[in-house]
Homo-oligomer: 76 residues x 3
Amino acid sequence: MDSTLLVAIGAAIAVLTGIGAGLGISLATGKAADAIARQPEADGKIRTTLLIGCALAEATAIYGFVIALLIVLLLK
Amino acid sequence: MDSTLLVAIGAAIAVLTGIGAGLGISLATGKAADAIARQPEADGKIRTTLLIGCALAEATAIYGFVIALLIVLLLK
Amino acid sequence: MDSTLLVAIGAAIAVLTGIGAGLGISLATGKAADAIARQPEADGKIRTTLLIGCALAEATAIYGFVIALLIVLLLK
């Protein structure tokens, strides 16, 4: 059995990490839209907070993407 | 057993990453519609916030798409 | 059976750790946006608290990322 047999499956599972960030960032965005409707004049502060949080969450998706890239490029 | 045997399954699993973003962006859009109904004059601010958040969430789906493409093109 | 057969699968499962952080950080960000809408003048305090919590949550994703990197680079 070839050692590269499961490379495609491995890369695929790694990039699935993005599901958490994709769902979470959207939920945060929905909450932020709610928050702006309640305090439209605080939109700058809310948007800054949203960006900080989403950048950190996006990073987790990028970790999965990088590992998937490494798996495809190094292990094939 | 051929090393490319599982390439199709791998690419398919990779692109499933888009489930999180697809569901999440829709929920965020729903919340934003609610928010605009509550504060119609804040629609520009809410739309800007929605776009920022959804762009970040969409990126996670693109990661899955890119990995699926790489799997199909490089590992076949 | 080759000992490197499951390296890709192993690395992929390791980086899935980021799902928890990606989802959790986003939920915290949504709550913080809510909190700023309720007390816009406390935005600095809320953002600092968000950053502390999210840094700790992000660390769990980094653990998964580092282990996945080590698996790909050392075990291939």
